[in-house]
């Protein structure tokens, strides 16, 4: 019997394992629900700012048979906050989100602070990873990063940002360079602290928003720069992109990650056809996870496997009110099969 870590490692390396892995990385791909918080007796928003609580909540995800990984943090605002953005920490049902930007233009990126990993919530995330590393084994620890474009769009008004990619192209690249350097620093520190896998979610950098040309010029370029900037000592990397892939399959295939993950608008079968050689992750509908039945979740899980997914995961962050039995049905149906 493989341990969850051995299984995920084999799959990430493109080898065949006994069955698909079942993970939910964390970060944008939130795996914490109201039911789980009650069972663990650890609650958001407190666990966003306390390393021990963050680690305990991450542990509960595995211990309650939801997913076969640990993952931190549970939001996508740590990077922006560390660079100076104002954050509302949310509640037990709402995720933290940005309420104050740092700059009004890509040309004023000197307003951004470099990420200091020894302070603030970056430090909390690293401490949580250290706790998980020390107190657990056999289960992969996933460290999460907000992707370059999504971080960029959290530091200034995204509409202006998107326009300036074109109108101030040279300055936009300089802005993205700076942000990517900060993300590399945070990602490297996560691996140093004990993260086995780095998952990057870049929901604001979609092919539908940018079109293929700008997707390649900004999304592929800076995610690859980030991936290439991480040290080799890790099990692998995951990149999650939102939205339709049909305009950008060719560009997506250029990403240097071990694994590609998509949301539920992308039919797994279609992704498999376009990305034959890639390790794919996904994409059980979070709608069904929240509002469906365990049986329906089980049959969706099986169809993901059949259609070519190597690592089964929710297609997006889980809704807070998703019942625990539905979440558990993903893993249990994989074990049955």
């Amino acid at each position: 019997m493989l341990t969850p870590k051995e299984r995920l490692k084999m799959i990430m390396e493109g080898k065949t394992a006994d069955r698909p892995a079942c993970i939910c990385p964390g970060g944008m791909m939130n795996m914490v629900t109201a039911d789980l918080m009650r069972e663990a007796d650890v609650y958001l928003p407190e666990a966003h700012t306390d390393a021990r609580k963050m680690a305990e909540l991450a542990k509960a995800v595995y211990e309650r048979d939801c997913f076969e990984n640990y993952g931190v943090p549970f939001c996508m605002t740590v990077e922006a906050e560390s660079m100076g953005a104002g954050i509302d920490m949310g509640s037990d049902i709402y995720e933290p989100h940005v309420v104050r930007y740092v700059t009004d233009s890509v040309s004023r990126f000197s307003a951004l602070s470099p990420i200091d990993v020894s302070k603030g919530r970056a430090r909390v995330v690293l401490d949580a990873i250290r706790i998980l590393k020390e107190e657990t084994e056999d289960v992969p620890i996933v460290g999460n990063l907000t992707g370059p474009i999504s971080t960029a769009g959290s530091l200034m008004e995204p509409v202006i940002f998107y326009k300036e990619l074109r109108k101030k192209n040279r300055e936009a690249h300089a802005y993205m360079e700076f942000i990517t350097e900060q993300l590399i620093r945070f990602g490297r520190a996560q691996i140093d602290a004990g993260a086995d896998v780095i998952a990057i979610s870049d929901p604001s950098g979609t092919g539908e928003i940018l079109g293929p040309k700008y997707f390649k010029e900004f999304v592929v370029m800076y995610i690859n720069k980030l991936l290439d900037g991480l040290q080799a000592e890790k099990m692998g990397t995951i990149v999650h992109i939102c939205g339709q892939m049909s305009p950008v399959y060719r560009e997506v295939d250029e990403l240097h990650s071990s694994v590609l993950s998509f949301d539920s608008v992308v039919p797994m079968k279609e992704a498999r056809e376009h990305l034959k050689e890639r390790v794919l992750m996904g994409n059980v509908s979070t709608y069904v996870l929240e509002f469906g039945s365990p049986e329906r979740v089980g049959s969706l899980t099986k169809s993901c496997v059949k259609n070519g997914s190597d690592i089964i995961s929710p297609a997006c962050g889980l809704g807070m009110k998703s019942p625990l039995v539905n979440i558990q049905a993903v893993l249990s149906s994989l074990k049955e099969a």
């Binding site: 995204p158 998107y162 700008y214 949301d263």
Partner: protein, 216 residues
């Protein structure tokens, strides 16, 4: 082609080609030549924006393209609108639009607002992370016939259902049509919470709004 037609074409093409400055300039020349502002808006700017919407539907244009086209359209509107006779603006149907509480992703909402305005609706934009009661209060105060809500996150979509309940409690449900959209939203979800309609993108949203309000 007459001078008027040439200027109208320049306005329309300028919007499609995202040339903000040239559109403003063309609008100025158009007024100075003594042509009516209304035609300049409808047959120039709005025509261009509709063409951009068409290109978006055909996946020739993407969201960033449409945003830049709309900048060009608004640059032209800033010049032409002050010269509209007063009555032209009155008959507009009103809608309230916003991103529901807990979520700040507003690109899709902005796009819907742009296309709705292009189609002649008067849209009251509440922005993002909008407290749910505010949709209801604004609709009542402004006499709006439509509420358009969006969210990109599964964690916040429940707020849409709450707004529908609030409309019921406030006795407004039969006076206002509710349209929803966004990443995790589907027709199934709209049916489940009792919304009047769902649309997948901004162009569809306009068609849906017209259908719901019986506008030809």
């Amino acid at each position: 082609m007459s001078v008027k037609e040439e200027l109208l074409k320049r306005l329309s093409d300028g919007v499609v080609n995202m040339e903000e400055d040239d559109v403003a300039e063309a609008a100025q020349e158009y007024l100075e030549a003594g042509y009516p502002a209304f035609d300049g808006i409808m047959k120039g700017l709005i025509d261009g924006m509709n063409r951009a919407g068409q290109l978006y539907e055909e996946e020739e244009y993407f969201v960033t393209d449409v945003l830049l086209c709309s900048d060009a359209m608004y640059a032209g509107l800033d010049v032409l609108r002050p010269c509209l006779p007063d009555e032209e603006d009155k008959a507009k149907r009103k809608g309230v639009i916003g991103v529901v509480e807990g979520d700040t992703h507003d690109i899709g909402k902005n796009l819907v607002k742009i296309m709705m305005e292009t189609a002649g609706f008067d849209m009251i934009d509440l922005g993002r992370d909008v407290p749910l009661q505010k949709f209801v209060d604004t609709a009542r105060e402004e006499g709006a016939e439509l509420i358009c809500m969006s969210t990109l996150m599964t964690t916040t979509m429940g707020g849409m259902e709450t707004v529908i309940h609030l409309l019921e409690e406030n006795g407004l449900r039969d006076k206002v049509k509710v349209m929803i959209g966004g990443g995790p939203i589907s027709q199934r979800y709209a049916d489940k919470i009792g919304a009047d309609g769902y649309s997948q993108n901004a162009v569809e949203a306009v068609k849906l709004a017209k259908r719901l309000l019986d506008i030809a």
